[in-house]
């Protein structure tokens, strides 16, 4: 099994077809598998090469399939977190008041930020979802829930978390990856955990950078090949 990262979607690559990783039936199955190359294609290609080829079309097809699989493996594992991460990532401390956290995120135009403890080790991550889930309609981590609450005019919906600190709402423990983690593994992680960014740490838990979904889209092998 191989994962292909396409634009905005991660595809699970299985013999004969390519389907999105989350396997949602609603999404259209996209069939651009190279295995759809036909026996006739191979035969015609053999005719394109002048001279006698000492191989049967079936053997050539088998060689082609193996070569393609190797190429995908190479593309899937050659790109590491360190190659695509944003290095000087913003961060906050566990004790940072939430108004500062929100201000930082708004100022930098980011939707999530790592939280470090007093020893500068990774402690958690705060994302828009962590804010949203504590505001507006209970349990619904959605911006429209906050809008709904606001429109009902029951005062500031941020009141419940007004005096709180980063550590009070952060998601912990943080899902992290290492610098040498293949991008393909990170893409899998995003799909499985339904997250949009992941801090990159060293063995001691020191923050080295951050990889977002946008970083993955930019590094897409499909794009490199296109």
């Amino acid at each position: 099994m191989i994962y292909i990262i396409g634009d905005y979607q991660i595809f699970f690559y299985n013999e004969g077809e390519v389907v999105p990783v989350n396997n949602s039936e609603k999404r259209k199955k996209i069939n651009y598998s190279p295995f759809t190359i036909s026996d006739e294609d191979i035969y015609e290609a053999m005719k394109d090469v002048p001279g006698y080829l000492d191989i049967t079309p079936d053997d050539l097809m088998e060689v082609y399939r193996h070569a393609y699989r190797h190429a995908l493996d190479r593309l899937a594992t050659s790109l590491k977190a360190v190659d695509i991460m944003t290095e000087d990532a913003c961060f906050v401390n566990k004790s940072t008041p939430l108004d500062q956290v929100a201000g930082l995120m708004a100022g930098k135009g980011i939707s999530g930020v790592p939280v470090l403890d007093v020893n500068d080790k990774i402690a958690g991550v705060i994302s828009e979802k962590d804010f949203l889930s504590r505001m507006g309609e209970k349990g619904k981590k959605h911006f429209m829930g906050v809008i709904a609450e606001c429109l009902r005019g029951e005062g500031c919906v941020a009141l419940p978390i007004r005096e709180k600190k980063a550590e009070d709402i952060m998601s912990a423990p943080a899902v992290t990856v290492y610098e040498h983690t293949p991008v393909i593994e990170i893409a899998k992680l995003f799909a499985e955990k339904n997250i949009n960014r992941v801090p990159v740490v060293d063995a001691e838990g020191n923050l080295k950078g951050i990889v977002s979904r946008a970083d993955i889209v930019r590094s897409s092998p499909i794009r490199i090949m296109a």
């Binding site: 035969y43 005719k47 001279g51 006698y52």
Partner: protein, 187 residues
């Protein structure tokens, strides 16, 4: 259990049906160049053999060169047709053939079968598989008095020398047409 054995046997038989089809036919110009190459290669070897060294007790031409010509001039790209395979295949197989004859000649059926089978195994082992090498090993056993008298010289003349001449012709002729090149690799 009985059912299982039946399926295994059915599976075994179905392998004999074949799965693929024959590769495409080559173009007319390809056929022409195969003819020109093999004519030149065999002509040169045969001319030297019959016209120049006849009567010396030596020969330069053996049957396996007809098979080498098919590969060298008719399947230029084949790994089996490359210089390493051509030279290694003929020379190694010749040595093995002569050895088998000398050790086992009272039993010609044993000598010939061991010679061919060992030649194939040795060519595989040394990455010099060249089908005509099997014939070269066999001829060392069944080639008659004239061949037997050569002893290990057989590996150099005719096997090695003939192969070198055919290689020279292949290098010259196969590189003339734009659609051909030779060799794919040397070692």
């Amino acid at each position: 259990m009985k059912e299982d054995n039946f399926n295994i046997f059915k599976n075994y038989l179905s392998k004999m049906k074949g799965v693929s089809k024959s590769p495409p036919k080559v173009s007319l110009s390809e056929i022409l160049w195969s003819w020109i190459g093999s004519f030149t290669g065999i002509a040169l070897v045969a001319y030297i053999s019959y016209g120049m060294i006849d009567g010396t007790g030596l020969t330069l031409i053996i049957g396996s060169f007809g098979a080498s010509a098919v590969l060298l001039y008719g399947a230029v790209k084949s790994p089996l047709a490359q210089p390493r395979n051509l030279l290694g295949g003929h020379i190694f197989s010749a040595v093995i053939g002569v050895t088998c004859y000398q050790l086992l000649h009272p039993h010609l059926w044993v000598a010939s079968s061991i010679a061919v089978a060992t030649a194939i195994a040795f060519m595989h082992l040394t990455k010099t598989l060249h089908p005509p090498g099997g014939a070269t090993a066999l001829i060392a056993v069944i080639g008659g008095e004239g061949i037997h008298r050569l002893g290990y010289l057989y590996a150099l003349i005719p096997a090695g020398a003939g192969a070198v001449i055919m290689l020279g012709v292949a290098l010259v002729v196969n590189n003339i047409p734009g659609s051909r090149r030779y060799p794919e690799f040397w070692i």
